[in-house]
């Protein structure tokens, strides 16, 4: 198979994909009492997909992705409160604001080591957290931004108490943006991102403008995260300081690692698994659930993700295991 065919075959829509999406859209209708969770999962899935573009496809370790989520959330909430309560316009406004922020922030991640990038991204989220906390005349400070009333979607579908409209709204936005991201990541342009991730020096040598790629992918990812934030603010009618918190950035990295990096469905899958896990564990021990998340992270890294989801690799010789891992990776690509 030559390189061109390989690229095309990756971009092809698999048979199971429409089924998964149909199931997702049917869920709020099948289980109306769980519509709120479906809505939450759809939003964090969008957030995780956004991080996947940065972390999985381009290899930028970011611990401050919540900056864009929070910025989009506050922008959308303020827009609804002070300008127009229309959800789609608000979504657009939140996304545009986060995109602008992403474009500015992308200048900060062009140079430096992993540590520098980690610190700069983390610092950005912390700065926004401080700002949102201190500008209390605008954001409500630590009380959060309350009293956001949303109008009906498309002027027709009111947000209901059980969250069915919210779930369908978020799922639709997720589907559209996911489709665009998928198309984009699988284009030749997206392939250059992976080249940059694997070896920036060589990528530069074959004529890929590395800084340009980093800046653009970071900006696009910020836009997606901002959209997720806007959805969150709109469907909950609330924006609070914890959208900027470190835990949120760490959680989304965890989701991505659970689902698999460098694979857009990894973000979606990770979001589903993480939310279910969160629900179950915090149902058992609401106060100490971070302990189990921490333990899970440690075990995940110690054992290795491949071996955790394919336990049969434990038995069999090391060489076989390595071969199987390589196969699995090849298959995933």
């Amino acid at each position: 198979m030559d390189a061109r065919e390989q690229l095309i075959s990756k971009a092809r829509v698999r048979g199971w994909e429409p089924l998964v999406w149909l199931l997702a859209f049917a869920l709020p209708w099948l289980m109306p009492s769980h519509a709120l969770i479906v809505n939450e999962v759809a939003i964090v899935a969008l957030f995780a997909v956004s991080l996947d573009l940065v972390l999985g496809y381009t290899g930028i370790v970011s611990l401050g992705h919540a900056a864009f989520l929070g910025f989009g959330a506050y922008a959308a909430a303020l827009f609804a409160k002070h300008v127009v309560p229309d959800p789609l316009l608000g979504l657009l406004f939140g996304t545009v604001c986060a995109t602008a922020l992403g474009a500015v922030c992308s200048l900060t991640i062009l140079r430096g080591t992993d540590l520098t990038r980690l610190m700069v991204t983390l610092g950005m989220a912390l700065i926004l957290l401080e700002l949102a906390n201190k500008l209390d005349w605008l954001t409500g400070g630590s009380d959060g931004l309350q009293g956001v009333v949303m109008g009906p979607v498309l002027g027709r579908f009111e947000f209901d108490l059980y969250g069915q409209t919210a779930a369908w709204y978020s799922l639709s936005v997720l589907l559209i943006l996911f489709g665009l991201a998928r198309r984009w990541a699988h284009s030749p342009w997206g392939a250059t991102l992976m080249a940059v991730r694997d070896n920036p020096l060589r990528a530069m040598a074959i004529g890929i403008p590395v800084h340009n790629r980093l800046a653009v992918v970071y900006t696009v990812a910020a836009a997606l995260a901002g959209a997720a934030g806007a959805l969150m603010a709109q469907t909950t009618g609330f924006a609070s300081l914890d959208v900027f918190a470190l835990e949120r950035s760490a959680d989304v990295v965890l989701m991505l690692v659970i689902g698999g990096v460098g694979w857009l469905y990894g973000g979606v899958l990770g979001a589903v698994v993480f939310k279910l896990m969160h629900d179950v564990i915090s149902g058992i021990t609401p106060q100490y659930w971070t302990f189990w998340i921490g333990l899970f992270l440690v075990v995940l890294v110690m054992v290795g993700r491949e071996r955790l989801i394919r336990p049969w690799l434990w038995f069999g010789r090391a060489a076989d295991a390595k071969g199987a891992v390589a196969d699995a990776k090849g298959g995933a690509l």
Partner: protein
């Protein structure tokens, strides 16, 4: 004005002691350890428990905090951290933040989520003020004076070990290039384990000293993780003077910023860090050559 500077220096010295272990381990093994604050917290809680339950005098608690956390560090290094060195940075970040989460939740479970209060001995409680009559030029809390003295002594000691002893020269060689150092017969792994233990011990000592100034509750590792990382990222990882200046700068900027512009809070510190890192991505004080 001078009082602010004094408080800033005390705070900076404390941050330096807390972060120096992180800086050396990061320079040595290129390992991003976000759980460093957990060792500091362990030292702090050890001191509180020893003082409250067993009535040990404060001065005795400090060496115990150092030894206890150093032991803990050595144990964790041998069992867990050792496997992480060759992994990609993402894995290291996940692993160590997992450890930090676990430490936060278990401290919460065992000690409760409230702030711990430290009973300082009588002779450390007072405050000396210098000035003309009512016009106070410099007010020095005795405890802060004590912190500066201890940390300065430790800094001089560390610098001496690093510059003059055989262990120090081996350590510096390993930081510059671990592979070549190993090729020359330097036991890099052993040196790393020892350094990790000492670094954790220093963090524990810093946590014990800082419990009164910084406050001690189970969220300590996450709350101060950012500060440690700023010290390391700004100061660079190739020497201990870099982190020292970075820590002092951070301490003074933080204290002064919170005093003059309380509305902005930590905003100044973070902005300063980002500006510095954009200007000098490898840190402010980097030795030429090396890696």
């Amino acid at each position: 004005m001078l009082t602010l500077l004094f408080d800033g220096i005390a705070y900076g010295m404390l941050l330096f002691i807390l972060a120096v272990g992180l800086s050396v381990t990061m320079g040595l093994m290129n390992f991003i350890n976000l759980a460093h604050g957990a060792f500091a917290m362990a030292g702090g809680y050890l001191t509180v428990v020893l003082m409250q339950r067993w009535d040990l005098p404060f001065l005795w608690c400090l060496p115990v905090a150092f030894a206890g956390t150093a032991l803990l560090g050595a144990l964790l290094e041998r069992t867990l951290y050792r496997h992480m060195y060759s992994k990609p940075h993402l894995d290291q970040v996940l692993f160590s933040i997992g450890l930090a989460f676990m430490s936060v939740a278990s401290m919460d479970y065992f000690m409760g989520s409230q702030q711990q209060i430290m009973q300082l001995p009588e002779w450390l409680r007072g405050r000396t003020e210098l000035g003309y009559g009512d016009n106070v030029v410099l007010g020095m809390g005795h405890y802060r004076l004590f912190i500066i003295a201890v940390c300065a002594a430790l800094t001089v000691g560390l610098q001496f070990i690093l510059a003059k002893t055989r262990f120090g020269s081996r350590l510096r060689a390993s930081v510059d290039d671990a592979r070549v150092a190993a090729g020359l017969g330097i036991p890099v792994n052993l040196i790393f384990a020892a350094t990790f233990a000492v670094g954790s011990g220093l963090a524990g000592l810093g946590g014990a000293l800082g419990a009164e100034v910084l406050g001690l509750d189970p969220t300590f590792p996450l709350k101060f993780m950012v500060y440690f990382l700023i010290v390391v990222a700004v100061g660079g990882t190739s020497s201990i003077t870099g982190p020292l200046w970075a820590a002092l700068l951070l301490g003074i900027a933080d204290v002064a910023g919170k005093y003059y512009m309380p509305k902005l809070g930590s905003f100044i510190v973070y902005s300063l860090m980002i500006a510095i890192l954009i200007w000098r991505p490898q840190g402010l004080f980097v030795r030429k050559g090396g890696r």
